[in-house]
Symmetry: C2
Subunit: 378 residues, 2 copies
Amino acid sequence: MDGTDRCVTEPGQDELVDALRLALISGVGPRIRKSLLERFGSARAVLAAAPSELRDVYGVGPKLTHNIAAAAEEIDVEGEIALCGEHGIRILVESHADYPRVLREIHDPPGVLFVRGTLMPSDALAIGVVGTRHGTPYGLRQAERLAAGLARAGLTVISGLARGIDAAAHRGALAAGGRTIAVLASGVMNIYPPEHDKLAEEVAAHGALLSEQPPRAEPLAGTFPQRNRLISGLSLGVLVVEAAERSGALITARHAMEQGREVFAVPGNIDGRTSRGCHQLIRDGAKLVESVDDILEELGPLVEAAPRDDGQVIHHPAELLLNELEQQVLAAIGSEATTIDQVIAQSGLPVPQVLSTLSVLEMRRLVRRLSGTTVIRP
Amino acid sequence: MDGTDRCVTEPGQDELVDALRLALISGVGPRIRKSLLERFGSARAVLAAAPSELRDVYGVGPKLTHNIAAAAEEIDVEGEIALCGEHGIRILVESHADYPRVLREIHDPPGVLFVRGTLMPSDALAIGVVGTRHGTPYGLRQAERLAAGLARAGLTVISGLARGIDAAAHRGALAAGGRTIAVLASGVMNIYPPEHDKLAEEVAAHGALLSEQPPRAEPLAGTFPQRNRLISGLSLGVLVVEAAERSGALITARHAMEQGREVFAVPGNIDGRTSRGCHQLIRDGAKLVESVDDILEELGPLVEAAPRDDGQVIHHPAELLLNELEQQVLAAIGSEATTIDQVIAQSGLPVPQVLSTLSVLEMRRLVRRLSGTTVIRP
């Protein structure tokens, strides 16, 4: 079974079947799923639970109790797994090693992710780029330019494959030869809007299409806001390029704030409506962005070091701004106190260059001075 | 002596002559003038001081000592006073009752102001509107629109009569039938740039031209930054409409911050350079402005209540945003605790209207609730 083999490496097939079945039950959203797992311990135990036990869980009513009881018969998990196998779609349940670590941090992680394309360890360095479907030429140009710049710096661009700003962001990353991930509200075999079919193929080839809905799921209105939490959840920060006052992009920004991600916004002329949402975000504390540097300088150190595709290990997104000399000096400094003599010896660079470069690194908050003669990574 | 009479009401002629002579000495800027007055007590005493005493004052060297000693002979104060009389220019020394109170608050007030036109008590409600001389059509449109809106709300628009944004701000205020004041770096009889001659006449007719330089003074490069502190000093806040990274408008904004005035900035598209300065200000904490309401809502209560031209007395700029009903309820509340029953009796309005209007006023921070039944102006 070649297909199944591509779908699963770990956990075991049984566990996958149960987790998938639970995730696909109508009415079991990420929060109720989490409550159920906390109460019963595993997907298998939830599915085997008595109706009276289920109803004890906050938010579970008679209808959901019925749906859970009927799941074994009504949900064709094996069929979905076979379908994924046929179409090269990976299924990642939350316990899977390749399930994005950052998504596990959010308070309502999806129980399952369907993936067309590939997820890479370097995707831990990602920025969400979102905005209105009704982007102006200005907004589309900026989305493409900034996404291209982020991609060139080595960041993965996450967006929602929607018309307007989202599509421009994916295109910018692709044009720069970078990686991009589209998080869909529909299934990964049901591309919406249909005219983005070709763009979706390109995204899958240079990144991934991702959804928590089964592959053939329709794009339902209710799933869009829910999807937005994954765009921010997968990102270190979310950049809103253009957004009117009630744009879905603002929901993504709100998710980002709740998830402790940074929020960035591009300002624009005040005589249109398309930048109003961005301006509101800036008033509420979002960082005003004119360039990629504005984003990289604002991001804090990574919780976990991320490898770049070129093998370089990144501890802090601002490292992506460094020139070769700066990288060389930084590489000579450990996470324990390092004397400047050690840095000089390790880097093999002349003293004045090391000293002036240390000042730059200090200014960028990549290095902290412990004393006149010792430095450390913060 | 009709001319002299128009120049001076108070202080006495001798005091005016001395104050003017001191202010006109080359090299005596606002700060040194202040130090001299603090040391010697009066302009007359400064002019009579011995060189050895003068040199004790910080910043006073041999050249300035010479200039002060020579002032009695070299500066034709009487000629300047006569000239002002002939051209209807008022001379306000710092001790004059009509000298703007807000200017006395700054740490380097001008020793003398030359005024063409009129200063009104309502000019205490003023906003500076400034920006680049190289305004884009977008910036010019916004400057005009926002200045017009401020003028309609009853605020005086202060600017610098420069090309670009400044001129658009004056024009906007004039078009709305409001008041506007131009603070010049040259003398009020030496309009710069020359093509703004007609605009200057209109400003003088519906507000004032103001300068700390004598009437025929040339526009010297050094006097422009110095002039900028008066634009902010005369204003409750400064709105920067468009400014590149090294624009003089940013100097005005910095003065505003140092003087404890509010700073406002209009954002714009990031693909030009003309909004870069505004964006930097916003990053540094300036309030992002899309509308006049954004400005009025941000301003705190006035240090001293200001009368509007229509006689209404304003305690807080946000009062300019109120409708008639809200004004009526606010007028019934004193600066001492007022019971809601008193407000109802005083305003003659039905209870539900008073209660809902009080909520609006509370939200706008114009009224503070002391208890369930008493309110007060903050």
